[in-house]
């Protein structure tokens, strides 16, 4: 094995790219869970976003339109989840699973004609001055806009949750929907909005995979990234900045194992490709062994205002 063939600068740069979809999806799910809803359909919304964004990107030649459309598709799919769980009071775990199954079916149905096509991809955005810095410039400051957008979104979500009235209400709904309802907040409406935000983020995340990271469409290409995003929310103890850490750690593992495969490590390829999932399990175990701190108290509970 030749470790010297792994370039640390490129490694960190590609780490940021591979972490971005998980970061976006996990951030959306964080907001959903903060409002007290567990949406297990992230994988389904991601893959639908991936194909919808890809299709629009290919047909219009504009990846930006692709991203916008992917966010809309993700949000629409999540709206189905919202209606079922919030208005028709269905079980959130089962509905989320159903959403994933529907999303996988829908995406492969739409995606058939798009197999093997290359899509237009986002231009790299060289940040002036900073990107000219040695090493750090290549590593951190010459990425596509979505990478910066995702990091900015972390800051926005953090600030909104922590410092604004809207964030306070959202958290109140997630901690105790009965108390929030008694105070006159529209629990269902707030939750639907959170679910839509989560869906849009998952859609963007999917489109990032199909438009930037790969950039191609293959069936089932998200390969469990949505589930990993769910795990990262737990890992982050429902705190936005820890989502960033979790996603980048995970991105690092993914990139490193790919690099090790390419460098011809003596570890079997299969063990390497298992490693992201195994590490996710390991991280979940470590986090849960410390106790489940930070989970919103009303997470996954059904709200029905009687009278």
């Amino acid at each position: 094995m030749d470790l010297s063939s792994i370039n640390p600068i490129l490694l960190i740069a590609s780490l940021m790219v591979s972490a971005t979809p998980i970061l976006l999806a996990a951030l959306g799910e964080l907001v959903v869970e903060k409002s007290g809803v567990l949406n297990l359909g992230v994988e389904g919304m991601m893959i639908t976003g991936a194909i919808c964004g890809f299709a629009i990107g290919v047909n219009t030649g504009s990846p930006v339109l692709g991203f916008m459309f992917a966010a809309i598709c993700g949000a629409l799919l999540s709206l189905a989840f919202g209606i079922l769980t919030q208005y028709l009071l269905s079980n959130q775990v089962a509905t989320g699973l159903g959403l994933t199954l529907v999303g996988l079916g829908l995406s492969s149905l739409i995606g058939k004609p798009y197999e093997g096509i290359k899509s237009p991809t986002l231009q790299k955005m060289e940040i002036p001055i900073l990107s000219d810095l040695p090493i750090v410039g290549r590593m951190l400051f010459s990425h596509d806009p979505m990478v910066y957008f995702s990091i900015a979104l972390v800051a926005v979500v953090w600030a909104v949750l922590k410092y604004t009235r809207a964030g306070l209400i959202l958290r109140a709904v997630g901690e105790s929907h009965d108390a929030a309802h008694a105070l006159g907040y529209k629990v269902v409406r707030i939750r639907i909005m959170a679910i839509l935000f989560g869906g849009a983020c998952a859609g963007l995340a999917g489109a990032y995979i199909s438009l930037v990271r790969v950039p191609q469409w293959t069936e089932g290409m998200t390969a469990g990234a949505g589930w990993i995003a769910l795990a990262i929310v737990v890992f982050a103890s429902w705190k936005p900045w820890r989502i960033l850490i979790g996603a980048y750690l995970f991105g690092g593992v993914t990139v490193l194992q790919l690099n090790l495969q390419a460098a011809g490590a003596k570890v079997p390829v299969e063990v390497l490709s298992m490693s992201p999932y195994l590490i996710t399990i390991l991280v979940l175990v470590i986090i849960s062994a410390r106790g489940n701190h930070g989970a919103p108290a009303a997470l996954g509970k059904i709200f029905h205002a009687s009278r």
Binding site: L40, A80, I83, L84, L88, L89, S90, N91, V93, A94, T95, L97, G98, L99, L101, V102, G103, L104, G105, L106, S108, L109, G111, K112, A223, G224, W227, I228, L230, A231, V234, P268, E270, V271, S273, M274, Y277, L278, T280, I281, L284, V285, S288, A289, G291, N292, H304, A305, S306, R307
Partner: protein
């Protein structure tokens, strides 16, 4: 203003009726989808739900297929439904199915080319143990560390798939396979083959096991203390604790049974209809079984019927893609929609709709 009012008791009528309502709704929306794909919706629905059973041209082939496809679905769904009843969400049955298949086939291939009646039972045992062991991972982690079993069991599906890729081109690869990935074909190894019990009926040993599992689960849930404890844990966890139910024991039991049944299903599939371990012999039964479990109301008899219906959509779907060129993914979407509509209509079990003139505050 439409308002939902909680019923004093869950409606028995709606509990039975919602699966049928959901099927009808799925047919309507699915029909619209088929029309959008450019096929005649009535013809498509007829080909999916009617022709596999009653068409003179296809029924002879597809009727046995019904049991072949329903067998694993029922077997897996029975296992996971116990967990769902107790609030333990094992959604990684696909992984347990794969590992069961690998262990079962591995046991059989280890004896190749010996001939003995004991080989096949040993393979069943190995398959069940393999699936059981794979399900014990989330069980132990949940009991010991409180780790979320949904995420762990699902992550293990991806691990199992990577493992399957490894053994099918490595450990279990057919030495006479001229370099192609995939194991020896167990169908051509009589001692290890999962053959039809009645020629031409589609009834192989796995289907028989599925039927036995239905009976076993029915007795367990309705007549045995353990079944009562499973239901109690799901419906009132605190009450269950006060009644002296050991939650760890329920977790081990539910996940263990689900794993063993899924593992057996995998073994029967690989020794029978699939024939060999290949990188993609698994056809997503572990996930479809989730739909089967819900559609069957988590009730053994319901699961039996739901499994047959879901098998019908598989076969009908193949037929529809052959006759009308409807893509296979459309059927997958169709099955997903079925679960969605079922969950949507389930609201009527516990609530009734009231129209009130004044707006509810």
């Amino acid at each position: 203003m439409i308002r939902l009012e909680k019923r004093a008791q869950p409606s028995k009528l709606w509990t039975l009726a919602t699966p049928f309502v959901a099927v009808v709704l799925t047919m309507i929306v699915g029909g619209i989808m088929f029309a959008m794909l450019g096929s005649d919706p009535f013809e498509a629905i007829r080909i999916i739900f009617w022709d596999p059973l009653f068409s003179e041209q296809f029924a002879a082939y597809s009727r046995p297929q019904l049991l072949v496809k329903a067998g694993p679905l029922i077997l897996i769904a029975i296992g996971i439904s116990m967990g769902f009843k107790a609030g333990i969400w094992n959604i990684g049955a696909e992984g347990q199915y794969i590992i069961g298949a690998i262990c079962g086939a591995g046991m059989g291939l280890a004896f190749y080319p010996a001939e003995s009646f004991i080989i096949f039972p040993l393979m069943i045992l190995a398959g069940a143990l393999g699936g059981w062991a794979w399900a014990m991972i989330p069980a132990v982690l949940k009991v010991r560390f409180g780790t979320n079993e949904i995420l762990v069991s699902l992550m293990l599906v991806y691990v199992a798939e990577a493992f399957l890729a490894s053994v099918s081109s490595g450990l279990l690869k057919n030495p006479d396979g001229m370099g192609f990935p995939g194991s020896r074909n167990l169908q051509q190894y009589p001692a290890a083959a999962n053959l039809e019990i009645f020629q031409g009926s589609g009834m192989h040993w796995g289907v028989l096991t599925a039927f036995l599992a239905v009976i076993f689960a029915y007795v367990l849930l309705s007549r045995h203390m353990l079944g009562f404890q499973i239901r109690l844990t799901g419906e009132a966890p605190r009450a269950a604790k006060f009644a002296g139910v050991n939650p760890a024991r329920i977790v081990f039991l539910c996940l263990g049974m689900a794993g063993a049944l899924a593992g057996m299903a995998g073994m029967f599939e690989v020794a029978g209809p699939a024939g060999q371990i290949t990188i993609d012999f698994n056809s997503g039964y572990g996930f479809t079984a989730i739909i089967v479990a819900f559609l069957g109301r988590l009730h053994p008899v319901g699961i039996l019927l739901a499994g047959l219906l879901m098998a019908l959509t598989y076969i009908g779907g193949e037929l529809a893609s052959l006759m009308l060129g409807i893509p296979g993914a459309a059927i997958q979407l169709f099955q997903g929609m079925l679960l969605f509509f079922l969950l949507a209509t389930d609201v009527f079990i516990n609530f009734r709709i009231r129209l009130s003139k004044t707006e509810a505050v």
